[in-house]
Amino acid sequence: MDGNGIILSIKNLVKAFPKDDTEMIAVSGFALDVKDGEFICLLGPSGCGKTTVLRIIAGLQSATSGELTLKGKPITGPGSDRGMVFQEFGLFPWRSVKKNVEFGLEVQGVDETKKNEISKRFIDLVGLSGFERSHPNQLSGGMKQRVGIARALASNPEILLMDEPFGALDAQTRNLMQKELLRIWQETKKTVIFVTHSVDEAVFLADRIVVMTGRPGKIKEIYTVTLPRPRDRGHPDFINLRKKILDELEQQRQGT
């Protein structure tokens, strides 16, 4: 940390993909400083480049230009200092819940006793005790994503990257998982970057909402959400903020 509590710093990020004979600019001039322990939502319509930004932070894609530093160190590729949770879970089907959660530890050569201890802690944390030996195909969508979260946290990353993690879940499970995520976030005090296209979800979860516009993907506006948690979706302030962001996205849609 630089003393000012900034854990992740993104400066002038540009991502261009080759398309036909020209280049398609997916992300342009993206800049953001994320504070340690902060819950950030990247919000925007599909195709606005929010997932691309997340994947670049994860190191799964490289930036065309720009500077990304995590705790002052430049990001050059994927690493266990950034845990990622995927929309379609990305669990290893042949591994049990326990073995999925232990994957990162196994890869780092953590010894057996330590592995057992850590996986137990995170399986308990996400509420999957008793399912250690189940395989992903025996779990519901919500439970699968609990495994995904436990797996991402088990390697003790500096930052948790979540790519529309609840997008594949039904509305009820989704609301439950949002509450669960906030509980886990408060217990682990991890920094979270959460990609979503749901305004409601962003307002419910985030400390700051980064609203992006598409083609090329840029930051349109950053909202700081000061509503106290647990947030009440029926509260006038919640409704007002949600409407304000929705209006902005709507304007944007009509403008382009």
Partner: protein
């Protein structure tokens, strides 16, 4: 959450009318076939055409061959054993070479580019077409084994290559974000992902393997073998023995396929994919 486990118990099979009809048809299927065969054999024998024995004659020949068949002068079990040894050696050799090579060719695009034209050139050659060459170039012992090897090698190879290429890119990303290096991505993600495909290749290979062994033994059969029973029976004019050999091959083929399916199911269950 325990309801999730309860769900698995509710797998009752109901005896529907459709089920009943299909089961009955399956029960009468073989008797109808045998009756048809019998009538056909009796008809031909009435026309002084003796090449097709009746099921009863084949059964008697099987009983005789059990102790000693007149062509190879070996017991049926000794013949089956001779074929099984060839089959297993050829099969394991093919699996042992095709699986690692398939993993390499599925993983490395350069290795694949180098090997692809050669493989595509050799693949269409029927294993049996190699027999005349193998009998000259290889010993009587290795000739049939290598024929089986060729038959099993290509289906396993193609399936493993396909398996490695079919790995869900999402779980590769997941492994990378967990800090896995290239080797770990390969050994902990790509390899286990490709195992079910490998098993599919093995199952195809089992079937092709039996077809090859009989063909190989029909041409060269030092120390007997089920193919030798068939050829020997024909040579000495014992057509009932010839058919007894054919029945033996059918039974062996079914047994190997059953064992193959059993292993496949075990592996899938062990991997939590079923």
């Amino acid at each position: 959450m325990s309801s999730l486990l309860d769900m698995r118990v509710i797998h009752k099979r109901y005896l529907t009318k459709d089920n009943l009809i299909r089961t009955s048809l399956m029960i009468v299927s073989l008797p109808i076939f045998i009756a048809f065969w019998w009538i056909l054999a009796l008809y031909f024998q009435g026309q002084n055409f003796y090449y097709l024995p009746t099921p009863l004659e084949v059964w008697d020949a099987l009983v005789q061959a059990w102790t000693q068949d007149p062509a190879t002068r070996l017991s049926l079990l000794a013949n089956v054993y001779a074929s099984l040894v060839r089959f297993l050696l050829g099969f394991l050799l093919a699996l042992g070479l095709a699986a690692p090579l398939g993993l390499l060719l599925g993983y490395s695009r350069y290795a694949n580019a180098l090997a692809f034209p050669v493989i595509e050139l050799l693949r269409p050659i029927p294993p049996i077409a190699w027999v005349p060459f193998l009998l000259l170039a290889a010993s009587f012992f290795w000739g049939p084994i290598l024929t089986i090897f060729i038959g099993v090698f290509f289906p396993v190879l193609s399936n493993v290559i396909f398996g490695v290429r079919s790995v869900d890119p999402l779980i590769i990303d997941a492994a990378k974000t967990q800090g896995a290096n290239r080797w770990q991505v390969f050994s902990k993600v790509m390899f286990p992902s490709s195992i079910p495909y490998m098993m599919a290749g093995v199952k195809i290979g089992l079937g092709v393997g039996w077809m090859c062994i009989v063909a190989a033994e029909m041409l060269a059969s030092q120390g007997g073998g089920v193919g030798a029973i068939i050829v020997g029976g024909q040579t000495v004019g014992r057509y009932d023995i010839m058919f007894a050999g054919m029945v033996t091959v059918a039974v062996l083929g079914i047994l190997t396929l059953l064992i193959g399916s059993l292993i496949e199911r075990r592996v899938k269950k062990w991997m939590g994919m079923e």
